[in-house]
């Protein structure tokens, strides 16, 4: 990025500031600008007011993330707002609350997505949100004592929960003579939940009357683990384990982008091309898996589609193994570049990759024959799991889920990073809003990713031999400025994967918050499935393509 562009950005930023100040007016107590966006400190009682104005007047229709954290003297909730039309236009609304009485107004009436985000903030940090419809723990069990990310939480103290306080899972069934609905637990052990998800459903016959996803079974304190690792090396292995089904490099990029932004590190162009190549290979692998598991959900266990997608994913996995040295837990990106240059002999790697790309069109045609043109598949998928674009935006849906609903939002194009800007490819959107549209969207994205990979291969083949710099010169101990804050997102396989980092001047982050696309996408499940049948719920769940490792973190 040249300095000229930076000056432009600053000029733009000033303009935006003036506008925003006009909208927020004197409700802004102070300015608290972050590295990525202007920030305004707002009184806990003005939250809804300010957010409504920002949404309706200034057009910030995307509540990307809600971060909560504790300082020595206060709690703080940060609403990271963006526009679906232009995600580079960001603003942070910072809401401080006192330590003694951490109560702030809920943003849920303004952005539906804030529902789950605020529940998580309450769960982990302990801030209470007034006016929130359902402020319960979300990741931890109901019986948990204390809030693990708050300062006074005793990590050493074991959580002893007596059985009497548990909701007994073996509680005998009871019948209510008045009611004609049935409660059914779908999960946590169920073949179609893609991990350990528990969906509490209320059925009226086979129709879903009410539905609530219960998450947290796979909560592994990823945020806290990252807070205990050093920026330079120790955080990078963890992103692979968020969305662990082969989209590791995309996740690593989220962290890499955030920290490179925060510590102002320039990544060599050659490394950016390799990153782009690897990331798109990951996307292909991930979408293949999504397609295969969706087929499992719709067909039953003996489907051929699943094995065919795995066969193709396997080729990508082999390529990635050659490149990164691992099949899923890559740990290939480094702060300021990548760990390795292309594998030697390079020609062999290029040949393998090109072979895959050459065969891909025939395979996509085969998938179309096998799945999408099948009439029974169409009757199952068209007009089921409908997610209207407005609802999708309200729930903060991103990625193929949003694009399947016609929301033209792709960070690779709208907030460019890596080498995407200089490559020829298209963002795929579909107007169907249903399960079918989401499936088609993923299949077409595979083709677009293949285009990107091909161009990257061309670039890498012709890259001058003496300019193959894979890592920037990054100090062995990285200490960003104290109190520098940033929220940066990349387009992961499932959507917008954002990382919020606050530095306190040490070599470890003071707060590391992960905005998981699956988390937001999953929260829209109830909206998609209520009033439909159980099979549609299963299909919708499959078409959301959630990975519980990323939902629960």
């Amino acid at each position: 990025m040249s300095t000229g562009a930076e000056a432009d950005v600053e000029a733009d930023a000033d303009l935006v500031h003036d506008e925003l100040e006009g909208v927020i007016g004197d409700r802004a107590l102070a300015r608290d600008d972050h590295v990525n966006a202007p920030g305004f400190v707002v009184n806990p009682d003005d939250v809804q007011d300010v957010l409504v104005d920002l949404r309706d007047e200034a057009g910030y229709d995307h509540c990307s993330c809600v971060t909560a954290q504790q300082y020595d003297d206060r709690f703080e909730t940060i609403y990271h707002l963006k526009k679906y039309a232009d995600p580079t236009d960001e603003v942070s609304i910072v809401v401080p609350t006192s330590l003694s009485e951490p109560v702030s107004q809920s943003a849920e009436p303004v952005y539906r997505t804030a529902d789950w985000h605020e529940r998580e903030a309450y769960d982990l940090v302990g801030i209470e949100y007034e006016g929130h419809p359902d402020l319960r723990r979300i990741l931890l069990p109901e019986t948990w004592q204390g809030h693990p990310l708050s300062a006074d939480y005793d990590q050493e103290k074991p959580q002893i929960v007596t059985l009497s306080e548990h909701a007994n899972p073996l509680e005998p069934d009871h019948r209510d003579p008045e009611s004609d609905t049935m409660f059914l637990n779908v999960g946590p052990h169920h073949p179609a939940t893609h991990g350990v998800l528990h969906v509490k459903t209320v059925l009226d016959g086979e129709t879903i009357a009410d539905l609530e996803p219960d998450i947290g079974y796979l909560h592994r304190c990823e945020e806290q683990m990252c807070q205990q690792g050093t920026y330079r090396h120790q955080i990078m292995p963890y992103p692979d384990r968020w969305d662990y089904v082969s989209s590791g490099l995309l996740n690593e990029w989220a962290y890499a982008r955030a920290i490179e932004d925060l510590a102002d590190i320039e990544v060599p162009e050659y490394a950016q091309v390799i990153r782009t190549l690897g990331a798109e290979l990951c996307r292909i692998a991930s979408h293949m898996l999504a397609l295969g598991t969706f087929a499992l959900d719709v067909y039953g266990e003996f489907t051929a589609t699943f094995m065919y997608t795995f066969r193709d994913r396997e080729i990508v996995q082999d390529l990635l193994e050659d490149l990164t040295g691992q099949r899923m837990m890559f740990n290939y990106f480094r702060v300021g570049g990548v760990a390795w240059d292309l594998p030697e002999p390079r020609e062999e790697f290029f040949e393998q990759a090109r072979d895959f790309l050459d065969e891909l069109p025939a395979k996509v045609a085969e998938y179309n024959d096998l799945i999408t043109t099948n009439e029974i598949f169409q009757t199952r998928c068209i007009d089921t799991g409908v997610l209207e674009p407005d609802v999708a935006k309200d729930y903060g849906c991103t990625g193929p889920v949003a694009r399947g609903s016609g929301v033209d939002y792709d960070l690779r194009r709208d907030d460019p990073y890596g080498y995407y800007e200089s490559l020829e490819w298209d963002v795929v959107t579909r107007d169907g809003c249903d399960n079918y549209a989401r499936v088609l969207c993923r299949m077409e994205e595979v083709e677009e990713s293949a285009k990107i990979v091909e161009q990257c291969l061309d670039l890498l083949e012709d890259w001058p031999e003496d300019d193959r710099e894979i890592q920037a010169n990054v100090p062995r101990t990285l200490k960003p400025d104290a109190d520098a804050e940033t929220y940066r997102a990349v387009e992961a396989a499932k959507g917008e994967l954002g990382i919020y980092i606050r530095s306190d001047g040490t070599d470890k982050p003071a707060r590391f918050k992960i905005r998981s696309p699956c988390f937001s996408n999953l929260s829209a499940l109830a909206e998609m499935s209520e009033g439909e049948y159980i099979p549609d719920l299963i299909a919708s769940l499959g078409s959301l393509d959630i990975v519980l490792g990323e939902v629960d973190r």
């Binding site: 049935m182 073949p191 719709v298 067909y299 099948n374 029974i376 009757t379 199952r380 049948y533």
Partner: protein, 365 residues
């Protein structure tokens, strides 16, 4: 292959029990002897069918599925992995039989027997060729439909008695599905009866093989009037209704592995599970047997009449293969779509088919 379709001798009414009676001399002992002979005959047929399911379940199904999905499948124990059948039998039977606390016994224990038994019962009236034919009542076809229908009771019993919501949903689906598809199945079967003029299985088979539909010129190969060729429309209708009846893709709603875990059989383990599993396969085979008998000329085929059983089993396996093929390629429909296809589609079509057949048969007569 000149005129090689083996004609089934008319009046070949020597049934298996009688033959056993004569061979062993049991028929000399009066009714008691006949009974023992009948039991022996039933024992042989039942074991033949069970052996077939034994081959199909643990081995053939794996091999077929693997072929469709580009995998290798079992190949370590025995030639082509065939001894996996023994290994699987030991494995399944040695497992603990877990019975849910709030299972409704004895319905829970009876269900697997009903499911497997009803299918076995159906084979009693099927002429399998080579003299393997247990009984030939006048109402043969109606009898087959009736006993095959009993399986639905087994499914509901299993679903209800397991005390599991998934099982119950599966059981309910099974009822809805069976009611919706039993009627088109029987009505389509009736169109065959109109042609044949009899419900007796041996006569239905005989009629198909005695008349010649047309002769292929040049080859001088007389194509017999198998009802699948006479009325392909009825054949397709019957096939579809049959898939729903036995609960295979695209109509495997009662199990629906991704939705209902395993439907009505969720809570069954060990021996009970084996019974349910065998019952499922028996039903596929019974469906195949009915199709073979009333649409594909029963045990008829090229070669001597002694080969009848081979041809008959081949036809059954062809139907089985078709179920597995569909399983690999066709998604499951939703329960409401299934009911809609059944009541609005198949039922109407099957009645249309019946009316049409009746008109044609009436005209010819």
């Amino acid at each position: 292959m000149n005129a090689a379709i083996a004609p089934l001798q008319n009046g070949d009414t020597v049934l298996l029990p009688e033959r056993i009676g004569e061979l062993t001399g049991l028929s000399e002992f009066g009714i008691a002897g006949e009974l023992i002979a009948a039991f022996l005959g039933a024992f042989i047929v039942a074991n033949l069918m069970l052996a077939m399911t034994g081959v199909a379940g643990p081995w053939a199904k794996r091999k077929i599925t693997a072929a469709f999905t580009d995998r290798i499948a079992v190949n370590h124990i025995g030639p082509g992995g065939i001894l996996i059948i023994v290994a699987d039998a030991v494995r399944l039977l040695s497992k603990e039989n877990i019975i849910p606390e709030n299972a409704d016994r004895p319905a829970y224990d009876l269900a697997p027997i009903v499911i497997a038994g009803s299918a076995l019962l159906g084979f009693a009236v099927i002429p399998m060729g080579s003299g393997i034919h247990l009984a030939d009542p006048e109402v043969g076809l109606a009898f087959v439909f009736a006993v095959a229908g009993i399986a639905s009771i087994g499914l509901v019993m299993a679903g209800y008695a397991s005390g599991n919501k998934y099982s119950m949903l599966g059981g309910l689906r099974a009822v809805a599905q069976n009611i919706a598809y039993e009627i088109p199945l029987v009505v389509t079967g009736m169109s065959v009866v109109l042609f044949a003029g009899s419900l007796r299985m041996s006569e239905i088979v005989a009629v198909q093989n005695e008349t010649t539909l047309f002769t292929i010129p040049g080859l001088e190969w007389a194509v017999p009037a198998w009802f699948a060729l006479v009325n392909p429309f009825a054949f397709v209708l019957f096939l579809i209704a049959n898939f729903a009846e036995v609960g295979r893709n695209p109509f495997d709603m009662p199990e629906a592995p991704a939705e209902l875990i395993a439907g009505y059989q969720t809570e069954y383990s060990s021996v009970y599970f084996v019974l349910v599993y065998l019952g499922e396969f028996l039903h596929i085979f019974l469906g195949g047997a009915i199709i073979a008998t009333i649409f594909l000329g029963g045990p008829a085929g090229p070669g001597p009449a002694e080969l009848g059983i081979v041809w008959f089993l081949l036809k059954i396996w062809a139907v089985f293969l078709l179920t597995q093929w569909l399983r690999s390629a066709v998604p499951r429909v939703r329960i409401d779509q299934l009911i809609e296809i059944g009541w609005k589609g198949l039922l109407v079509l099957s009645f249309a088919n019946l009316a049409l057949t009746a008109a044609i048969v009436g005209l010819i007569a």
